[in-house]
C-alpha cells in the first residue's frame, strides 16, 4: 500500500496530464449517461435529475402505445436496412474493381477524386441534391429525356429513400474503399503468381485469394453496420424532408429532435433514445454472435 502511494506521488505529473481529458469525458460523456435517469422521472430543473419524482416506465408505455410509433419504427428500420443492403457492398465492389486496375497513376486518380465528396458537409450535399431534384434540375432533364414527367422529386415520398441512400453512397463509397484497399495490400503477391501458374483466371483469383483476405475486415464492419442500422443520419433527414415526404422520412431521430429539442418533452424523448440504444445493443450482440458461429470473426 505504501509502495503504491509512493508510486502515485512519483507519477503526479502523469495524473496531472490525464486530468483535462478525464474531466471533459466525465462532464460530456458520463454526466449525460447519468442524465438518462430522467427517462424514469418527472424531470424538474429545480430538483435536478436525482431529486425529481420517479414515474417508472410511464414514458416507455407512452411511446409504445403511441400510434406514431409503428410508422417511426418502420421508417427507421427500412431506411437502415436499405442503406445497409445498398451502401455496405458498394465500397467493397469498388475496392475490388480498383484493385484490378493495372495503371497505378489512373488508379490513384480515381481514388483521389472519389474521396472528395467525403469532405463535403451535409448541408452542401443536401443543397446540391435539392438543386438536382428541382423541376428544372439535372435529374428532371434526364427524366424528360426518358419520356417521364418533370417533378419536384424531393416532394414525392416514393423517391425519398432512393435519394437519401444514393446521395449517401455518392458521398461515402470512395472513402469507404480505403480500409478494404489497405486490407488487400496484405495479400502476398506470390499467391497470385502461383494461382496463375495453376491456371486460375482473374475471377478465381478474386474469389479465392483477394476475398478471403478482406473477409475479416468485412465481417467486423458488417457487425458494426448491423448494430447501427437504427442509427439513421437524422441530421441529414432534417435538412431533406418536408411535410409531403414525412410519411416515409419521419424516423426516430427526427421525432426525438422535434419533440425533445423543439417541443421540450425531455423525459419522453430521453426514454425513446434509451429504448433505441437498448435495441441497437441487442442487435450488436446478435450480429456478433452469428458472426462468431459462421465465420469465427467476432468483436470480443
Amino acid at each position: 500500500m505504501k509502495e503504491f502511494i509512493r508510486k502515485c506521488i512519483k507519477q503526479r505529473y502523469l495524473f496531472l496530464m490525464i486530468l483535462p481529458g478525464f474531466l471533459v469525458i466525465l462532464i460530456f460523456n458520463y454526466l449525460p449517461i447519468y442524465g438518462i435517469l430522467i427517462a424514469f422521472k418527472d424531470y424538474n430543473v429545480a430538483k435536478g435529475v436525482w431529486g425529481s419524482d420517479w414515474v417508472g416506465l410511464k414514458y416507455f408505455k407512452m411511446f409504445l402505445t403511441n400510434p406514431m410509433a409503428g410508422r417511426l419504427f418502420k421508417n427507421t428500420f427500412l431506411l437502415g436496412l436499405y442503406s445497409l443492403l445498398w451502401g455496405f457492398p458498394a465500397p467493397i465492389i469498388l475496392a475490388l474493381l480498383l484493385n484490378e486496375i493495372k495503371n497505378d497513376a489512373f488508379k490513384r486518380t480515381v481514388q483521389t477524386i472519389s474521396y472528395i465528396p467525403h469532405f463535403i458537409s451535409v448541408v452542401v450535399i443536401v443543397g446540391m441534391l435539392a438543386e438536382f431534384c428541382a423541376v428544372d434540375g439535372v435529374f428532371n432533364k434526364i427524366r424528360v429525356l426518358l419520356g417521364l414527367e418533370a417533378l419536384p422529386l424531393l416532394a414525392y415520398p416514393q423517391y425519398f429513400r432512393t435519394l437519401y441512400i444514393a446521395s449517401n453512397i455518392w458521398q461515402g463509397v470512395g472513402w469507404g474503399t480505403i480500409i478494404y484497399l489497405a486490407a488487400i495490400t496484405k495479400v502476398d503477391p506470390t499467391l497470385y503468381d502461383v494461382a496463375a501458374i495453376d491456371g486460375a483466371n482473374r475471377w478465381q483469383k478474386v474469389v479465392n485469394i483477394t476475398w478471403p483476405t478482406i473477409k475479416p475486415t468485412t465481417t467486423i464492419l458488417l457487425i458494426f453496420n448491423i448494430s447501427g442500422i437504427l442509427g439513421t443520419n437524422y441530421q441529414k433527414i432534417l435538412l431533406m424532408y418536408n411535410t409531403r415526404t414525412k410519411s416515409v422520412a419521419d424516423v426516430i431521430g427526427t421525432y426525438v429532435y422535434e419533440l425533445g429539442i423543439q417541443g421540450a418533452q425531455f423525459e419522453y424523448t430521453t426514454a425513446i433514445g434509451l429504448f433505441m440504444s437498448v435495441i441497437s445493443f441487442i442487435l450488436l450482440f446478435i450480429a456478433n454472435f452469428i458472426s462468431r458461429k459462421v465465420s469465427e470473426t467476432s468483436l470480443w
Binding site: 507519477q11 505529473y13 502523469l14 495524473f15 496530464m17 483535462p20 481529458g21 478525464f22 471533459v24 469525458i25 462532464i27 460530456f28 460523456n29 454526466l31 449525460p32 449517461i33 442524465g35 438518462i36 430522467i38 430543473v45 469498388l94 474493381l97 480498383l98 484490378e100 486496375i101 489512373f106 486518380t109 480515381v110 477524386i113 472519389s114 474521396y115 472528395i116 469532405f119 463535403i120 458537409s121 451535409v122 448541408v123 452542401v124 443536401v126 443543397g127 446540391m128 438543386e131 438536382f132 428544372d136 432533364k141 470512395g174 472513402w175 480505403i178 489497405a182 483466371n201 482473374r202 467486423i220 441530421q235 426525438v256 425533445g260 429539442i261 425531455f266 430521453t270 434509451l274 440504444s277
Partner: protein, 295 residues
C-alpha cells in the same frame, strides 16, 4: 507474369472496368462542376435551363452579393475561430491523455483505459446531452462549439499506440537528465509525432468546418453562427433573398437568379476545403490507416 498470356475475356473486362472508373470520375466531379457553372451563368440562360458543366455567359453578381454581405464574413470568422480553437484543444488534451497511457507502469493505466472504453459503447444521447449543456450555461457560448467531444476514446487510443511506437529509451534518458513528463511530451514526443498531429488536426479542422447541427441547437444568435448555418439559411430557410436586401432587388430585376446566389454560397463554403484537399489528401488517407491498424 511474362509467360502468362491474357485471355480475351480478361481484356474485355479491363476495357469495361476502365470505362466504369471513368464513369465514377464523372459522377464524382459532375455535381461540383454543375454547381460552379450555375453560380457563374447569366440569369436568362439559367431560366432556359441551358447550363450544364460550362458557365453560360458570365455573371458574377451572385458572388458580389455574397461577398459584400457582412453576414458571410462574420460566419467565416466564427468558423475559423471554432475550428482553430477546437482543433488546438483536441490535439492538446488528446496528447496529454494518451502520453501516460503509453507508459507501462503508470498506476492508473488500466482504470483510465476502461474509463475510455465505456464511452465507446454508451452515450447519453441527444436530449440528456442537450439538457446538461443547458444546465451548465454553455448555450450560446463559444465553448459549446469546441469542448463537447474534444476528447474521444478512439483518438486517445490511436495517439497512445503512436506514442508507444516511439523508443522508450528516449524518455528514460531524458528522465535521467532531470526532465519531467511535461517537458518530455512537448520537447521530445510531440516533435516526433508531427505526422500524427497533422493528420488528426486536419480531421478536426474539416469536422468543425462542416459542422452545423450543434450550432442549430446550441447557438441562438446569428452573429455567432458558423458558415454552414448561413449556407443552410440561404439554401433552405429563406431562399436566396436572405443574403441581403440588395439581393431581393436584384432578383426581382432579373440581374441575378436565386440559383446564382445559392450556388455561389456553396462554392464559397467548400472552396477552402477544395483548395487544400489536393495537397493534404495523403494525410487524410494516412489517418484512416493509422486508425484501422489498431481497429
Amino acid at each position: 507474369m511474362a509467360a502468362y498470356k491474357e485471355s480475351l475475356s480478361s481484356r474485355i473486362f479491363d476495357v469495361f472496368n476502365t470505362l466504369f472508373m471513368i464513369f465514377i470520375i464523372v459522377i464524382m466531379l459532375y455535381p461540383f462542376l454543375h454547381v460552379i457553372a450555375l453560380s457563374l451563368s447569366e440569369t436568362s440562360e439559367i431560366m432556359k435551363g441551358n447550363v450544364n458543366i460550362i458557365p453560360r455567359g458570365f455573371n458574377v453578381e451572385g458572388y458580389k452579393l455574397i461577398l459584400t454581405s457582412p453576414q458571410l464574413w462574420i460566419a467565416y470568422k466564427n468558423t475559423i475561430i471554432y475550428a482553430v480553437l477546437g482543433t488546438f484543444i483536441t490535439l492538446l488534451f488528446t496528447s496529454l491523455m494518451a502520453y501516460p497511457l503509453a507508459i507501462n507502469d503508470f498506476v492508473a493505466k488500466k482504470f483510465i483505459t476502461v474509463y475510455l472504453t465505456i464511452t465507446m459503447f454508451f452515450s447519453g444521447g441527444l436530449i440528456p446531452t442537450f439538457l446538461l449543456i443547458r444546465n451548465l450555461g454553455l448555450i450560446n457560448t463559444i465553448w459549446v462549439m469546441v469542448l463537447p467531444g474534444c476528447v474521444s476514446a478512439y483518438n486517445v487510443v490511436v495517439f497512445r499506440t503512436f506514442f508507444q511506437g516511439i523508443s522508450p529509451e528516449l524518455r528514460e534518458s531524458a528522465y535521467l537528465d532531470g526532465a519531467n513528463d511535461f517537458i518530455i511530451l512537448f520537447a521530445i514526443i510531440l516533435p516526433l509525432s508531427k505526422a500524427l498531429l497533422a493528420t488528426f488536426g486536419l480531421f478536426s479542422m474539416v469536422g468543425h468546418w462542416n459542422s452545423w447541427f450543434d450550432a442549430l441547437i446550441y447557438l441562438n444568435e446569428e452573429k455567432k453562427y458558423p458558415i454552414q448555418m448561413i449556407l443552410r439559411k440561404i439554401l433552405f430557410v429563406s431562399n436566396a433573398s436572405a443574403a441581403n436586401d440588395a439581393a431581393q432587388v436584384m432578383i426581382e430585376s432579373r440581374l441575378v437568379h436565386p440559383k446564382n446566389i445559392q450556388m455561389a454560397v456553396i462554392v464559397v463554403t467548400i472552396a477552402p476545403i477544395m483548395c487544400v484537399y489536393p495537397f493534404l489528401q495523403k494525410y487524410f488517407v494516412q489517418g484512416v490507416m493509422i486508425g484501422s491498424i489498431k481497429g
